[in-house]
């Protein structure tokens, strides 16, 4: 397994507007939601302070699954609690996930 520290967003230009400063994952199993492969799921460990995220079900300790990634740098779609949420890549980069040990690919 590649060391997670090296994982960076593929396209840095997307991030140029974001005020967010890229934080390193804190441990081996933690990764940003943006880097979670399509079909895999994990548990949210850290996320930015954004009310909208919590209303859409993206909160601490919630299980999320990446359903798909849109083309043209568009949003990624995640499923949580049976509901589908679209969020931009830059927001997804600010949400950290602990990979589910028994995470299965559901396509």
């Amino acid at each position: 397994m590649k060391p997670l520290k090296k994982i960076r967003p593929n396209n840095n230009s997307e991030n140029k507007f974001s005020s967010f400063s890229f934080q390193e994952p804190q441990n081996e199993s933690e990764t940003s939601l943006n880097n979670l492969p399509t079909g895999e799921e994990g548990i949210i460990s850290r996320l930015p302070d954004n009310d909208m995220l919590t209303f859409l079900g993206l909160r601490h300790h919630k299980v999320v699954q990446v359903v798909t990634r849109q083309k043209f740098g568009g949003p990624i779609i995640v499923k949580t609690n049976g509901r589908y949420v679209a969020l931009s890549r830059s927001l997804a980069r600010q949400i950290y996930i602990n990979k589910n040990s028994c995470g299965q690919a559901v396509m």
């Binding site: 909208m52 859409l56 798909t68 849109q70 568009g74 949420v85």
Partner: protein
């Protein structure tokens, strides 16, 4: 003074459907967030007592973090409240504008059975306000289908509130709801004992654990599978192209068939001969007779244009749009295009106002209220006003161009799209504001219900009859009078440097330019009578496309934004239309 009851809940949980069921009114409802952007009041009669019901736009919380929420909080406290009548544009004649709202007597809180956590969070916040509450557990059919089981009894005990499971679209549970509201208002006693002192997600999750269960593991319904497929780039993007093509086919094809096979033969074969016969019997030959049945005779053109040339497209367009709206496909289309739209400063959710704009610009302008930033609103409204023809104008373009030159028709529509992209690119550069950050929920994909669709389409057609067709008849009558009184020649001479020398059109074309201020399609329809060549058709259509939005649109721009904004749009569209039309005329002149 009747008592006031507020209807509150998250976005897209069916508040407007319940509102329509309870009041018998028809506010616009669709399957995406932010359909209701205005407070709509209506009266319902409960046991011979009138109760004022208010459909509050959906909010996630009462934290007052945005304007909609702040107003929702205001409404809960009563006092001065900005309340506007009407669901669809220009208002609904039955809903009542209320400027000063009594403190509400009760709240009907609509809970989405498929989204308990967020719903309960809002519910607990409303409970803190100390008002009597009835909980409506809506969309319980969808939750059942997904395998969720909600113990309404346990929920009721946990919250100490009445809970009524409903399926608003079928009317299930509505009688019970009416009974409960009337009981609650009569009783007027309320114990706030169970209202939480603090609303936390922990508390919400605890309640959910007790009342919400999943029957079985992860079964995906057919609906969910399709919803999922349509959201993925593959096969979602190719399918989007197919769906848009289908929609275009239905709108143009069905409209054309309705026009050619039914409406034109009906009017030309049956109605007009009767009118002509009658008028020639009563009115002596001359100018007056011509006003009725002459070149611009308003009993002929004034009926043919709105009812035979435009109405078929109104029917076919709203059939397609209503289906798209209720299916929940539009947010999916928005998500698929989000990345592309980001590059011109927009979000995927912008496709909804733009699509609405192909019907009429006014609902499009209103619906931009649901967008996140003012910059985005501004860009989309400018795009719609400049280059999105309303359905009446589209009908007029098809009537003018399809018979004579299909390539010109295609060119005009492509030019419109190019102009929209240019406007967005320029405004995105010019205006300050953060780039959009997409974060939205994707609603369930639903198969629209026949009766609901039918009602919606019928309402929109009725609306066109009143607000669209009548002004058109008046417009044609004005044209007839101008023509017969000789004023037309005077106007033609006056505008001839612009119309004849710069645009290369016959001097008669001054008339549609004046009528176009009243209704957009009137810039196009009179051109049919002028025997234009292909270049003139293209120039005329170009000017018609970009020329000023109609007077009603200008008024709503002033109301929603400012007089300055409306003036700017007027200037931009007028100058843009004449500049482009003239350039095309002169450039083509070099080659022909």
């Amino acid at each position: 003074m009747p008592e006031t009851v507020l209807l509150m809940g998250l976005p897209n949980v069916g508040k407007s459907v319940i509102f329509n069921r309870l009041t018998g009114l028809n506010v616009r409802a669709a399957n995406y967030c932010g359909t209701t952007v205005e407070f709509t009041g209506g009266t319902m009669v409960l046991e011979e007592k009138e109760v004022n019901l208010v459909d509050v736009p959906g909010t996630y919380s009462l934290n007052a973090t945005n304007e909609a929420e702040a107003v929702a909080v205001d409404m809960l406290h009563g006092g001065e409240t900005r309340m506007v009548a009407g669901g669809e544009h220009c208002g609904n004649e039955h809903s009542c504008p209320i400027t000063n709202l009594e403190k509400p007597s009760a709240v009907v809180c609509v809970v989405d059975a498929g989204n308990m956590e967020a719903s309960l969070y809002l519910l607990l916040q409303i409970q803190q306000q100390g008002l009597p509450i009835i909980v409506v557990l809506n969309r319980s059919d969808l939750a059942r289908e997904k395998g969720y089981r909600i113990d309404a009894k346990a929920l009721s005990q946990e919250l100490d509130l009445p809970v009524i499971p409903t399926v608003a679209v079928t009317g299930e549970g509505m009688e019970e709801l009416k009974k409960q509201i009337s009981q609650l208002i009569q009783k007027k006693s309320y114990s706030a004992s169970k209202a939480p002192s603090e609303v936390t997600w922990e508390r919400v999750e605890n309640i959910c654990k007790q009342v919400w269960q999943k029957d079985h593991m992860e079964t995906r319904t057919k609906r969910e599978k399709w919803g999922d497929l349509l959201t993925r780039p593959w096969p979602g993007l190719p399918m989007a192209i197919v769906i848009i093509g289908l929609i275009f086919g239905v709108v143009v094809g069905l409209g054309l068939q309705l026009r050619q096979q039914i409406l034109l033969p009906f009017f030309r074969g049956l109605i007009f001969p009767q009118i002509e016969f009658l008028v020639t019997q009563i009115v002596p030959e001359g100018a007056l007779q011509n006003i009725f049945i002459g070149e611009y005779g308003f009993l002929i053109k004034g009926i043919e244009w709105p009812f035979a040339l435009v109405l078929p497209y109104v029917i076919s367009f709203y059939l397609a749009l209503s289906f798209l709206e209720d299916s929940g496909y539009l947010p999916r289309l928005g998500i698929l295009l989000d990345g592309l739209l980001n590059k011109i400063g927009l979000q995927g959710s912008g496709v909804i106002p733009i699509l609405l704009g192909y019907g009429c610009a006014i609902p499009a302008i209103l619906s931009t209220r649901a967008l996140n930033s003012r910059k985005e609103r501004f860009i989309i409204v400018t795009m719609v006003c400049l280059a999105v023809p309303c359905i009446a104008q589209t009908g007029a373009f098809i009537a003018l161009l399809s018979a004579q030159s299909i390539p010109v028709m295609v060119a005009v529509f492509l030019m419109a799209i190019a102009a929209m992209i240019c406007v967005a690119l320029v405004l995105n550069r010019m205006l300050k504001g953060d780039p959009p950050e997409t974060l939205m929920e994707i609603p369930d994909l639903l198969l629209p219900r026949g009766e609901v669709l039918f009602k919606k389409i019928w309402l929109r057609i009725k609306h066109f009859m009143v607000d669209g067709a009548l002004p058109m008849v008046v417009g044609v009558a004005i044209a007839a009078i101008l023509y017969e009184s000789g004023l037309m020649v005077f106007l033609g001479n006056l505008l001839s440097p612009l119309v004849v020398s710069w645009l290369g059109l016959p001097s008669d074309a001054a008339v549609p330019l004046i009528l176009g201020i009243m209704r957009r399609e009137l810039t196009v329809l009179p051109l049919m009578e002028m025997d234009l060549n292909t270049l003139q058709l293209f120039v005329g259509a170009t000017v018609g496309l970009f020329y000023v939005p109609c007077i009603a649109v200008v008024a709503s721009l002033t109301r929603e934004f400012s007089l300055k904004m409306a003036g700017g749009i007027l200037l931009l569209t007028t100058i843009g239309a004449f500049l482009l039309g003239g350039i095309i005329n002169h450039l083509a002149g070099l080659f022909i």
